[in-house]
Subunit: 203 residues, 2 copies
Amino acid sequence: MARPSGSDAGVTGPRVRDAAERLFAAHGYAAVSMRAIAAEVGIGAGALYHYTPDKQTLLFQLMRAHLEEVIAAWAETDPKGAPADRLDAFARFHIQFHLDRPEAVFIAYMELRALEPDNFAVIETLRRRYEAILRDILAAGVAAGEMQVADVPLAANALIAMLTGVTTWYREGGRLERGEVETLYAQMALGAVGAQKSSAKTF
Amino acid sequence: MARPSGSDAGVTGPRVRDAAERLFAAHGYAAVSMRAIAAEVGIGAGALYHYTPDKQTLLFQLMRAHLEEVIAAWAETDPKGAPADRLDAFARFHIQFHLDRPEAVFIAYMELRALEPDNFAVIETLRRRYEAILRDILAAGVAAGEMQVADVPLAANALIAMLTGVTTWYREGGRLERGEVETLYAQMALGAVGAQKSSAKTF
């Protein structure tokens, strides 16, 4: 089949990915058919194959795009200063990025089980690359005498789980503003590794 | 249909729940049929209805039992001493309990979406009751001047997510022993709320 040309492909491709993300998050990858994705987009099942060869490719591309985006977004955000300030910035960044993408977060955790081995290996490599950002900050903090971390990989895992967990309970318009939530989590992250922001230090 | 009597019901009931838990965790609730659960147990699809009226009831009972168990198990474990020592004990307890039940943890997070409203309300009430244990410890720690917690409900959510996250990466026989993992997470939990174990205090 020929690929749809020009603006049609450019508009419908993202709509296919959005629909797949929404349905995978709502029902689980295994329970969603290509036909259901096509219906959600409002195109025929046959037309869907113009945009993706199969459901596994859709899942893989969603998960890969999510991780590539978060890695690229941090590179833009990293203040590259003192380790404690970088940890503060990382905690705020991680919460902002993930609160904006609750469905992608849910799928990233839930559907690792559904990835074929080659795809799983690619996703695992990207996930480790993102975790390595935090590991590097913690290692720099220990080296600088700013942090107390007995096991850097464990601490990175623990902090990422703590920060990501905000997506399970935070609701816009609730008791706390996003900025307050970011500040409180960042303080807890710093406390968990025995650090404080350089601006908060008492000399 | 008559209920199977005596030892058969007592042996097969738990096997039905184990099979459902395994299949829900592996494929997602929506993708698992009653027929598939019966096949996993090795009984006929008709016989399965001796043990449960439907799939929703199975899911609900699994999630309810998990939460009732963790609440009861903590009541047995709670050292009822200084708040910082209770937090240390809670962190270790939470990790031990959840590392022993990775499939139940996965389902508890993933399949909230699949619960019917009445069942969801029951599960939410139990979940809040468990979270209240940690909120009470933190509030007592603040009252005793042992902890610095700007927002107790937020801090409880953050710590529970951090501790539960251990199930996503810890593997028996890996680099770290369970006891080490418990100690390191408990230290991070205490640090996150500005506390330390009473035995670690310097006078």
